[in-house]
Symmetry: C3
Subunit: 384 residues, 3 copies
């Protein structure tokens, strides 16, 4: 599955290390100092308190932090959690964020702003901190919930949402749906009728529930997003316990993918763990489907090469992207990039060592997956 990094051809290793990545799906870094408890609760997708008989540092993500982030903070690799957190506190969040983001070598962030945005940096904060461009990706459900919070009649909902979406996404590079979290991906793929939308809006707006989870409305948001015409991201697979993993299999989107195909809007399947082979099949079969294995890479640490390898099976290389999906501690932004580089080096390095690929093919694929595909899909220009 993987080879020692010192066996990777120098030219390939250098190309990987020097590539300015486009992180096509990421959230902001935490802007406040974090207690040990808060830190541990942010290096897991679980939203439950950490049981007293364990620590989240005993995990692939925890070990990867102690191995790879410690040196960025001036510590030896494999320090203790206590040493790590003490050093982190002494440096302060701003300095920690700047060091970790800069060292990640990410050259462009597409920042999704719809989740607990008050605890983390926005696109401009990320751009300032990392010294590279940061654009926005707008979460459809967050826009709809803002429309509802502002007060809206049921039969005005569709139009108000369309207006709000247009305003919120004026300078955005993409949109995102978290249908997987709200109703599962096994929804009816057809666009709902205006009457159905108005009825569903009436039920929701009258319910007092701030959270949008009605499948009719979720579908309406997706189709309004397709009409808006920006690349549309979907949460797929692995996430916090709010997701039913069984109902977030990307194969459930087949009907929607086929109905949306004539619109020509790129559909980007995010994360996908453990369904990366399902996502790869969809990217192989349908011109409008793309995917990444972000999030899973950070959280599988020493095993991340296996995921990256599985993502490089049947999908054309023009359809695979890089993301970190980091949220909160800048360790996750750093690991997303660093572990992806190491995984690509190991997997493609092995293809080259085995005589299956040429080194120039490997370098070409690194560049496509790490930056070029995202630049083309999101129309980001040529990069630096």
């Amino acid at each position: 599955m993987s080879i020692e990094l010192d066996l990777v051809p120098t030219g390939l290793m250098r190309a990987i290390d020097e590539l300015a990545l486009v992180d096509h799906h990421v959230h902001g870094a935490a802007s406040r100092d974090l207690s040990r408890r808060a830190f541990e609760e942010m290096i897991t997708e679980s939203d439950r308190p950490v049981p007293e008989w364990m620590t989240q540092f005993d995990s692939q993500a925890g070990y990867a932090i102690l191995r790879h982030c410690a040196p960025v903070l001036g510590l030896e690799p494999f320090c203790t959690p206590e040493e790590y957190l003490a050093r982190r506190a002494r440096l302060g969040t701003d300095e920690v964020n700047r060091r970790l983001l800069t060292a990640s070598g990410i050259g462009h962030f597409l920042v999704e702003t719809g989740y607990r945005g008050d605890e983390i940096l926005g696109p401009s904060g990320m751009a300032e901190l990392a010294g590279v461009p940061a654009d926005e990706v707008v979460r459809l459900e967050a826009v709809a919930e803002q429309v509802a919070a502002a007060g809206c009649a049921a039969d005005a909902f569709a139009e108000r949402f369309a207006q709000a979406l247009w305003e919120r996404s004026r300078s955005a590079r993409g949109l995102k749906s978290i249908a997987a979290y709200r109703c599962g991906l096994d929804f009816d793929p057809e666009p709902p009728s205006p009457e159905e939308v108005a009825q569903a809006a009436g039920r929701w707006l009258g319910s007092g529930d701030a959270r949008l989870s009605d499948p009719v409305l979720v579908r309406h948001l997706i189709w309004a997003g397709i009409e808006r015409g920006l690349p549309l991201q979907f949460h797929i697979g692995y996430g916090d316990p709010d997701v039913d993993l069984r109902r977030s299999d990307p194969l459930l989107l087949r009907g929607l993918i086929e109905l949306a195909e004539p619109a020509g809007v790129p559909l980007l399947l995010l994360h996908c763990y453990p369904y990366q082979r399902h996502a790869g099949y969809l990217a192989h079969a349908y011109p409008n489907v793309y995917f990444d294995v972000g999030l899973g890479v950070s959280y599988t640490g020493a095993r991340s090469a296996a995921l990256v390898a599985e993502s490089l099976e049947v999908a054309p290389f023009a359809k695979i992207l890089f993301s970190s999906d980091a949220w909160g501690p800048a360790e996750l932004h750093h690991l997303g990039a660093l572990l992806w580089r190491r995984a690509m080096a190991r997997v493609l390095g092995e293809f080259v060592a085995e005589g299956e690929w040429s080194m120039s093919q490997a370098i070409r694929v690194v560049s496509m997956v790490g930056a070029e595909n995202a630049r083309r899909v999101y129309d980001l220009g040529a990069g630096t």
Copy 2:
């Protein structure tokens, strides 16, 4: 997962290289010259036009062609697509086919003839070109569609189909069902009653649709095939977008497998990607189930050893077969065999290098999977 080929013990490598394979599920080679567009559209399972911003050569299958087929055509490995296609055109399709098929070392073809048969060679053409025996596998749905095209009353359909199947399969070695493409594998496993068949035939024959997709009729074809008594192949998993991958999981066939068990007819699960572990479980549990990982091997190229390795987990080795499932460009026939040999060398070579298997065990399994199991199941005699 795999080791360098030059670390594979010589005796094992030689046994693998010299084995005359039985390709138990393959289609004919393309008999006409191919434009670049036509060639690219045939080295993917997608039936969509290739988008202008990509080329199918940027894929595992594309890189495998440039690596492994180029030398067979007298080029250096890792030439450009342009060089490859120019050389291919200069040699001409007949010469290209002969070189690639001969170099594949396939010793016996079982050719499934039911898909776009006018564009490709039939069994006799394959036998002539490759200089080895080629027998036929008959697609049930194609026979039924021929019966319908010839004109048939609804209540005569079952008998007419039985006659046609018998005639078409007189010298065939096996039958095949593409239920996965036509109605998904989540059909009622019971044989339909004669009344149900006549009613469904009436609906279909009156519909004007040449394509058989009614689940009642698909089930009837399968049960008629079981009654015919030849080994029965099933498309499973990965294929073109016409298949709903979620509904082509082999575990959906459990009911049918159990109902068919008393008949003693071998059921052969084809391709199976990404469900090879599910197929292996069924082959472990049920005496009448066999499987292969063809198609997936060609299309995953440098990653094909991972698939082959996953196929060698819980299934008894007497239940695993080799196929290429190639259709069209003879590159796919060549890669199906060559990548399988390399994958077996890497995977079994690693078992031996790790001290887990003896070399003679590894050689035994290569011979079983590559040829002997198919010779036994399809009653092909001892081979050369």
Copy 3:
């Protein structure tokens, strides 16, 4: 995926070899001599007769026996099945059992007694033979079937079952449900009402069927087990053909896991193949979920490192356990432990060799997964 064992750092290899494992889910060793037919039928999960054209020795489990158990019986590795079985018969079952169990290095057995208990040793027999403690895990369905066999009115069933469970589990360390075998895991997760239980008990007790498979009763047993408060094991995934693998995906338990969370009872997902990544996700998301990859390890032999590696992805290391799930021939107990040790050595040895983990982290995880987690969950004390 894995490295040569002689490349594993000495300290890690020694820690793995010397660890006294806690086998948290195992059955008794066969207490009678076994014919070749009986032996072959016990080294597979299939309950079908072995077809005449194959032998179960041609499988990963078979090759692992000839490789790893032969030396324990005083034979060369890679002997023939005939040599192996002759030697086994000459030594006699008692001596074979003692050698294989002792050499396994298992330090504590949790023996599940509910399956064909008359053919195998119970906890005291296992303790005597291996010279280490053996405690019991009680199968819920077996207790209920004993209640029914003893005669019971429908409206007394719930109370009688509660009494019997309490009595049977007085000194037990855990309980087990085989819902996956009896009704599939896609059952309604809510506890049934007393009226529903009484009605379902009436249907069952009046049916003359000794086997409990009614989903209402299965659910009642599970909830009674949660109320009993002992750690609760669930059969997941791979098993004999009696299980519908598609309906034994652990993701189907999500509703139950969430409903049971407040009770604080550990839920332990057993085996899980090929759903080990799904199980790892649940163990990541929910504090009350644990899992192992037992059974799959023995039956995948030379491929078992791949399974173990996949189990070490997103789950916190405090949530992963070791089991053999052996039943019958003591070869399976031996292989469960031996192959797990070799797999951990290869997988963690590679993490260390690649510079991703420190050796002390690797040793810590071996100890947690192999023994400490089970000692904590089942309250077994500190061990020797």
